[in-house]
């Protein structure tokens, strides 16, 4: 059962893993240019495991290391994980603390979104999420190390639309999360707030701001907190 769920999660993440690999190779090239050893890069991959944050870390990697600035930048970029992790609560309901502590490390945007889409179709195991995390970790490590040792797998990913793979995958998953007309207003508010915040603020604050702003919209329609018709119970 455990192995089946993990394998399913791993397989479900394979399409997006291709672009994770390609972008990893670019990070590997940049890291090599900065004189970061492949071992340090591997340590970073395994311990931080957050793509956008690692790009910023490598970008800021100049002697003497601005330790505090890098830490704050990572905080600003990864703050979205608070919301992402919070939304995983129903899936982890009833899990032991140890399992939560071990599995949460391998939560990335990709396997989170794929797991949430799966959850809308029916019950989903935490091992599905974890298997997906292993797939992304494997692609990320292979890509970065290949880029570091051999050069970029793809020189200019944009030319092949590989930057759009992330957008397309997440758009596809978004349609699975559609709960009907009641989502229209929250989603429009979320998208609008995110674009405005992205224009006004640095880092990835736009994800948090858009997510919260959109999430607050249903409260206008249900100020008493009465359950809405068709709402998913968990």
């Amino acid at each position: 059962m455990v192995f089946t769920a993990m394998r399913k999660g791993f397989a479900a993440n394979l399409p997006v893993a291709v672009s994770v690999l390609a972008y990893g190779s670019i990070l590997g090239v940049l890291a090599a240019q900065k004189g970061i050893t492949w071992l340090d890069l591997l340590v970073m991959n395994l311990s931080v495991f957050a793509g956008a944050a690692q790009f910023v870390m490598v970008d800021m990697w100049t002697p003497p290391l601005p330790v505090l600035e890098i830490t704050l930048a990572v905080l600003a970029i990864n703050i979205r994980y608070v919301l992402i992790a919070a939304s995983l609560q129903p899936i982890f309901h009833g899990s032991s603390r140890l399992r939560k502590c071990l599995m949460m490390h391998l939560v990335a945007d990709e396997n989170w979104a794929i797991t949430m889409a799966e959850y809308r179709k029916g019950p989903v195991s935490t091992y599905f999420l974890f298997g997906g995390g292993l797939c992304i970790l494997f692609a990320w490590c292979s890509g970065t190390l290949a880029g570091h040792r051999l050069g970029a797998v793809v020189q200019k990913p944009e030319a092949y639309g590989l930057d759009f793979v992330f957008v397309a995958i997440f758009t596809g998953l978004l349609t699975s999360l559609w709960r009907g007309k009641k989502d229209l207003a929250p989603w429009l508010v979320a998208a609008g707030s995110a674009m405005l915040a992205n224009w006004m603020l640095p880092g990835k604050w736009y994800i948090v701001i858009g997510g919260i702003a959109g999430g607050l919209v249903p409260l206008i329609h249900h100020p008493t907190g009465k359950p809405a018709a068709g709402g998913r119970s968990s």
């Binding site: 870390m57 502590c101 957008v167 979320a190």
Partner: protein, 107 residues
């Protein structure tokens, strides 16, 4: 030969970045577990996956311009009709790549 960084500051930096990231991941889950799964909080939490995901991609679609809008629309339509993620991804990525190849879109 450029100056490279080595020594304890490397591991301090990686360690702090890893620690902060892990605390955000585990903190969000622990925090959500403390809230009651009912009423207004439930409405907020139930809306969250969709609103976070759309916030994640909206600026990316906007920055890809008209070609991004077309690609996203193709993907969404295909995903809605077929439910096949790989096919839907290709339905969005191929037009974007083609438009860029023929110089019809910035890339």
């Amino acid at each position: 030969m450029m100056e490279t960084v080595s020594g304890p500051s490397v591991y301090l930096t990686i360690g702090l970045a890893a620690g902060v990231t892990y605390l955000l991941r585990i903190g969000g889950l622990m925090l959500a577990g403390r809230f009651p799964n009912s009423g207004r909080i439930k409405h907020f939490m139930d809306a969250l996956p969709g609103t976070v995901l759309i916030s994640l991609i909206a600026p990316g679609i906007a920055s890809a311009g008209l070609c991004g809008g077309i690609g996203a629309l193709m993907t969404a339509t295909c995903a809605y009709r077929t439910g096949n993620l790989l096919l839907s991804m290709l339905a969005g990525v191929i037009p974007v790549a083609a438009m860029r190849y023929f110089g019809l879109a910035p890339g």
